[in-house]
Amino acid sequence: MAEAHNLQDLQHQAAVASKVYVQRDYNSGTICRFQTKFPSELEARVDRQQFEETMQTLNNLYAEAEKIGGKSYLEGCLACMTAYTIFLCMETHYEKVLKKIARFIKEQNEKIYAPLGLLLTDPIERGLRVVSFTVPEAHTNKGCFPNATIIPLYVPWALVKSSAL
């Protein structure tokens, strides 16, 4: 199955080359915030302003989740008084905002990025380390690229088989 390994390597290389990662911005401390600097790899694919708007909205949502204010203090004090057992039955504010973020990302993908051939990943699935943009066009390449290599491989195989027979 040498052909299978070659194809998998090609897919792997194509997959690695087609991902763009936006890292965390730690200039404001340990709060969850992503860099809004426009990556050069997305230059031709997406509008700069659109990208910045998406990242800014994401950052605002995470800031809302981690906001230290009256509501979070109330939640914390109540939890402390119940020996934190309230976390077993109640959804925390952070979890509610995470669901909001998931909906926002889905909406962004459907309306903006999928038509451009891009895919935005929810950072929670990467441990809040990165926001990744996947370029699924690599898969259409996967569709045609391996086929382009299969045909030349198939032909000699068929010839060998027929000669063996």
Partner: protein, 387 residues
């Protein structure tokens, strides 16, 4: 015969249709697939199908629990009846509340994810290395070990973790016992059998505070019992064994636990971690210039509130999510003409494939998710989140 023909065609037509049908088939196979805790690379143990997480060496946790239980039970059995009779009925009530608080917070500290950061996926690690190669000089150098950021006008160095293949966020440290990077790493506590980090620091603090109150309370009650008992004739057996045991345990622990509570109260008030305090990161010992703590709010109350009453961050390791079924093997089977029967077997018997292969290797091969499944993403478990 028509049925046979239809059945023969069906497997061949499965790879071709539009993406939505495939996730349904994948989901069914995912149920036979493993949960993420089963393939977790760190040295942790999981109970109740991934609901509870402890360090590999649970260490002295049974001893801690045993000591607390034994002392409290002895207190209730031998001291409470006397004290209720001579003092007030609130004594066992207070003791009970403190005991419940202490045990619940201990269990929560031990079984909660302390803030483990999942390891970087191979794609991410490659991307970081590629970026460093682009900016750096030679291609064979290992990634630079530090990256500097400015937080609150303070230069903070972020170290690269070679195990987790990422630059550690600020205040994150790699625990060698658990082999994980833990956010806001405080220390690894053998008494509790787990790391103390961002997510369970409040439980840990509640535990030591309630335990110090409990120990002091029991110590006080036993001392009162002794003092009152000298006035009346009593059985020697009572003093020589049980009360003496309680006295010794409480006397020895009250100093250390009170001391620890006091130390952690100072840390909470100044928004420091034990790790930073021990290393002297912000005390300005190593540098001549004034290095203050960039994370502190410079207000004791705000620091306390942010550390203890701040929002509860979620667990990032998604223990109970499913490891995605190998998807690139499916795309290979879809497009390859030659090994079609074999490919179809791989495709149809998607469930056993991940379990046959060692998990880490199985996951590294299909490095990118298919566009189909991510477009239908509704939640975390559907996405590959490699550790």
């Amino acid at each position: 015969m028509n049925n046979c023909e239809y059945q023969q065609i069906e497997p061949l037509s499965l790879p071709n249709p539009t993406p939505p049908p495939r996730p349904a088939a994948v989901e069914e196979e995912e149920e036979k697939a493993r949960r993420k805790w089963e393939v977790f690379p760190g040295k942790n143990r999981f109970y109740c199908d991934g609901r509870f997480i402890v360090a590999q060496q649970s260490g002295v946790l049974p001893l801690t629990l045993g000591l607390i239980l034994v002392t409290t039970v002895l207190f209730f059995v031998f001291d409470c009846p006397f004290l209720v009779k001579h003092l007030t009925v609130f004594i066992p009530a207070i003791g009970g509340v403190l005991f419940v608080f202490a045990v619940i917070s201990l269990l929560q500290t031990s079984f909660t994810d302390p803030g483990i950061l999942p390891r970087a996926t191979p794609d991410e690690a490659a991307y970081i290395e590629k970026q460093i190669d682009n900016s750096g000089s030679s291609t064979y150098q290992p990634p630079p070990r530090t990256k500097e950021v400015v937080i609150n006008q303070q230069v903070v160095k972020l170290k690269y973790c070679f195990t987790c293949k990422m630059f550690r966020p600020p205040r994150t440290s790699h625990c060698s016992l658990c082999d994980n990077c833990v956010e806001r790493f405080d220390h690894h506590c053998p008494w509790v059998g787990n790391c103390v980090g961002k997510r369970n620091y409040r439980f840990f603090y509640t535990f030591i505070v309630s335990l110090s109150f409990l120990t002091a309370f029991i110590f006080g009650c036993v001392a009162t019992h002794l003092a009152l008992n000298t006035q009346t004739i009593n059985v020697v057996f009572d003093f020589s064994s049980c009360t003496a045991v309680e006295l010794v345990i409480c006397f020895l622990s009250v100093w250390s636990i009170l001391g620890l509570s006091g130390f952690h109260t100072y840390l909470v008030a100044s928004n420091l971690t034990t790790n930073e305090d021990i290393k002297g990161s912000w005390s300005g010992k190593s540098e001549a210039e004034d290095t203050g703590n960039p994370y502190s709010y410079n207000n004791i109350l705000t620091n306390c509130c942010s550390v203890l009453c701040g929002p509860m961050p979620p667990s990032l390791i998604d223990r109970r999510g499913f490891v995605p079924v190998e998807q690139s093997s499916q795309t290979v089977s879809m497009e390859m003409v030659l090994p079609m029967p074999a490919a179809k077997e791989i495709k149809v018997v998607g469930g056993p494939t991940p379990s046959q292969l060692p998990p880490s290797r199985a996951l590294q091969v299909p490095s990118s998710p298919l566009p189909a499944t991510p477009l239908s993403l509704t939640g975390r478990p559907q996405f590959s989140c490699l550790f």
